[in-house]
Symmetry: C2
Subunit: 219 residues, 2 copies
């Protein structure tokens, strides 16, 4: 089914909200996520229900149908593949790619995505460490943990972030932390959860908040 960019964006948003909350998605939450008014969300939700991409019960919110979930995963797949392209091939910084990928993901062509995937070497994860759904909708899960969960002397490789605001990504950059960076916990402060860590060959101090937004794959 060919969907409009707007319809695709709503599907994506609903999928992510479902993942985050495990319950049905309310109109309000959806409107907030889409930065629009609840009335607009209602309009769209009705149209997507009409297309059987989601179940909608008035005043009760929505859940994606199997079809809807499949569609959402395909859009996320495109988004993440384009992000890999932008970072790996065009050497964008990982905090600059979201906006552009958001446009590229709406280009309609199965063939394009298949070839792009091959060109990129069939990556499993995007530059933020998020898994890239396969063509049939399966997702590889990482054994990723929050850095905050590591104990003293444990180490890991940075595989992604929880919050991906430009500010946070730029802050990480200043600390020389990016996807693939090896990190070891040298010390952990009980009092405020802050850590002293080893990044490459340098020591660095990070707050609890930072440690709670950085995913690592333990070694």
């Amino acid at each position: 089914m060919k969907l409009s960019p707007s319809e695709e964006n709503y599907l994506k948003a609903i999928y992510h909200l479902e993942q985050a909350s495990d319950t049905g998605v309310t109109t309000n939450a959806l409107a907030q996520r889409m930065e629009t008014k609840p009335s607009s969300a209602t309009d769209m939700v009705k149209r997507l229900a009409e297309k059987e991409l989601l179940h909608y019960v008035r005043y009760r919110g929505v859940t994606l149908t199997n079809e809807g979930t499949k569609s959402a995963l395909q859009i996320i797949r495109k988004h993440r593949l384009w992000q890999v392209f932008l970072v790996e091939k065009l050497h964008f910084h990982w905090d600059q790619v979201a906006e552009i990928a958001e446009q590229l993901e709406h280009v309609h062509s199965e063939e394009l995505i298949a070839r792009l995937e091959r060109f990129l070497g069939e990556p499993d994860f995007d530059p933020h460490g998020e898994p890239i759904p396969s063509k049939d909708g399966t997702i590889k899960q990482t054994a990723k943990k929050l850095l905050a969960e590591l104990k003293k002397n444990q180490g890991g490789v940075c595989v992604g972030v929880k919050e991906s605001s430009p500010e946070f990504l730029q802050y990480l950059d200043k600390k020389n932390i990016t996807i693939g960076t090896k990190i070891k916990v040298l010390g952990k402060e009980f009092f405020d959860g802050s850590m002293v860590i080893l990044v490459g060959k340098d020591q660095s101090f990070i707050s609890k908040k930072t440690a709670e937004n950085l995913y690592v794959q333990t070694l």
Copy 2:
């Protein structure tokens, strides 16, 4: 100025019609090119005139302003760079890229295009041999001739096509002719303009019609 995909497509069409005819562009011609109704073309033309991208005189047609021409060239630039990407990097065949490039060209990001251009090695021509406008709107001109203009024993390199229908491009493919293919005229039939040519190491017979739609750069 940020334009909608539709506005961009109209600008592109007007630019091409201007190039082809050297006169102002009529509403009818524009509507035909856009595969829409004249009334729709009128609507759009008014909006573009409002934005000072073209001069519009009722019942008299339009001409692009300097601003409009600049915009059109930027869109053409994007289109052709994406076509290079699709053919060179993703190994699409040159008859499959137009439709996808038409979508990609509407992605808004200066930075993206700058980086794409660098990634592609700053090409001067697209896979159909059409020149790629530079960032400032200048166009490299080829010394290209129609194959039909060559005399016996003259040779050249295929640099593009006049008609770029999938049928014609596929036909050329069957004859092993693509951008960069060396061609030499072995014989030319006065009667019907047909030719016997050397393509690589093999002889090939082509009609006048084919020879009139194939551009070569003479050696």
